[in-house]
Amino acid sequence: MCINMIYEVRISYKPGVQDPEGESTLEGLRALGFEKVEEVRSAKLYVIKSDYDLQQIEEMCKRLLANPISQDYEIREVKQHSSR
């Protein structure tokens, strides 16, 4: 039996870094009549199922998923479930 972990990795632009996707979404929402939206920031989420541990997930973030210079990452353990 092996333990399978699910992690949620959230990648967002650091505050101050341009977020064009957020900006256009804001524009889009306003055009649709939601004029009082003040700000939209976008982020990406990866839900990763594996039996790696937290540290290794962090390694994934550093090597591929996020760019520490412009992006923040946040890892959240979702649940633990056993398979097989």
């Binding site: 996707e21 889009g28 649709l32």
Partner: protein, 265 residues
């Protein structure tokens, strides 16, 4: 004959407007590139035009989803004008991003008045520019493809062109599209055999290899491939082997659109 005038509609990020305009004007008509803001602000009316083309590009940067912001904005701001335009039986062509806009606006496939299908991220998850073969499967409903030969070649260049039908209702939707003669182009092999999902002949994983559909009236066509880039043989990827043979496969689509207007207005 009265002057024929087309609207080539652009929003921020539209970028295939000029070649689209040139393709239309080849057939002795006027094609005006119009910014969506002019319609929204009421400075111009869509009803002053005989046909509408929504060209390719990245409207609003393709943010949220390709075509979403422009599609939803159009319906919210000038939905009534568009409805009227359609009622007057004027033709609408959406190319690439324009197709995405029409889908997001709920104008295609046009069963109901809301979005019923989607153009999702390519199965490869990549933007891809390549020439593909298309088989023209329309039985005559679509006004854009009359007299068009069976197998065509055109380039696709998109990251989100995979047609997705509602989960669990795929068969039902396909049946309906077929019954209404709404399927126009399918990705195929050189001999016209459908690609059956096989990459790269079907470049994006589109269901039933669908590359273009029209609405039940046949007056609204949306297609991922770019006819304006297949207008002249000189833009074909292998003309240096095959020589120059007049016009390309995209030609007839624009010709039909102009002809329809000339015959009916």
């Amino acid at each position: 004959m009265r002057d024929i005038k087309f609207c080539v509609l652009r929003g921020p990020g539209t970028n295939c407007d000029i070649e689209t305009k040139v393709s239309l004007e080849h057939f002795r008509c006027t094609a005006e590139i119009l910014h969506i803001n002019k319609l929204i602000k009421g400075e111009r009316s869509l009803l002053d035009y005989h046909g509408l083309v929504i060209p390719g590009g990245f409207s609003y940067g393709d943010r949220v989803r390709s075509g979403a912001i422009m599609g939803k904005t159009l319906m919210k701001k000038i939905g009534n004008e568009i409805k009227k335009f359609v009622e007057e039986e004027k033709p609408i062509l959406g190319i690439c991003n324009g197709f995405q806009v029409l889908v997001e606006a709920g104008m295609l496939p046009g069963f109901k008045e809301e979005q019923e299908v989607a153009l999702g991220t390519n199965s490869s998850s990549r933007f891809e520019d390549r020439w593909v073969y298309l088989v023209n499967e329309n039985r005559g409903n679509c006004i854009f493809t009359r007299n068009l030969k069976k197998v065509l070649r055109m380039p696709v260049a998109h990251g989100e062109g995979k047609l997705i039908l509602p989960l669990g209702l795929e068969e039902e939707y396909l049946d309906r599209l077929k019954r209404n003669d709404q399927i126009v182009f399918r990705y195929s092999y050189e001999d016209g055999t459908p690609a059956l999902g096989k990459y790269p002949h079907n470049p994006n994983g589109s269901i039933f290899d669908i590359a273009g559909i029209c609405d039940p009236s046949g007056l609204i066509l949306g297609m991922m491939p770019h006819p304006e880039r297949a207008f002249h043989w000189i833009t074909y990827p292998d003309w240096t082997r095959k020589g120059l043979k007049g016009y390309g496969d995209g030609y007839v689509i624009f010709e039909n659109m102009v002809k329809y207007v000339k015959d009916n207005f």
